[in-house]
Amino acid sequence: MTGAPHLVRGVDHVAYPTLDPAATVAFYRDALGFPVVHSICAVGWGPEDHPDFIHFFFDIGNGDRLAFFYYFGYEPPQRGVKGDVYARFEDDIPDFFVASRHLAIHVDSEADLLEYRRRLDDSQWPVELQVQHETIESIYTHDPNGYFVEITRALRPVTPQEDLDANLTIDALLDVLRAERPTMDALLARKAELILERAADWSAPNVATGVSPR
């Protein structure tokens, strides 16, 4: 812990390139109903070989924005057989890796999640997957650019002990990464040491235990 104040306030914007701004607008504005809130028409930007571009933004709630760049007259060569318009991969790259990068947008309730499910299912980009993990429920699809998009709701609030656990996990990970071949076994062993060192004195008020020792 640095003790420095945590001053940031969420996502201002995240930006992706698009080769198909018409479909991008159809997906985010027309199908999902995310308002267009800002755009920049940039002419003669930067060095001479920089194409003119439109930088446009959708409101994704909470004042946060999802932005795209469309570059006039530029289309990168599409190498590879899977991935999105920004990152292409050959067939030897496993799907778990290709699908790992995604954007998850939060909703507050099941009704809201199902409303976005309905909007997507009525569009050209129906929900590909709806999953209820025990603590979250999510719907997934790919946008017209091939970007993996999730809309998710929490089934319960994150508890204080989960924040502690996350920090012990990361500290254990940093420790085991020093080994030549880091493994989950090594991480769980190191984490047990950190639990004994740091968790015993931890307490959160009003957290019931439910299980009593034998």
């Binding site: 076994d185 639990i195 968790a199 307490s203 959160a204 299980v211």
Partner: protein, 82 residues
Amino acid sequence: MSALYVLDVPENRPVAEVAARDERALSLRRVGPYFEIVFDREIVIDRRTTGCRHAVWYSSVAGTREARITQWDKDSLRLESA
């Protein structure tokens, strides 16, 4: 002695409860917000008995002491003393 650590969140409690019922479980105690299940040689947790679905099941182990996981699939989690 070998031990398994499980974070106390609602979804994980059945894992700690089922582990503690194994005849090779020697003790169940709290270490802060974790359950510590000390066991002798081996412990097996049946997933269906816990009622856990897969997302929680495969992330329910917080730590292992002097033990290694020798089975962790949709049926069982097995730890053996190491």
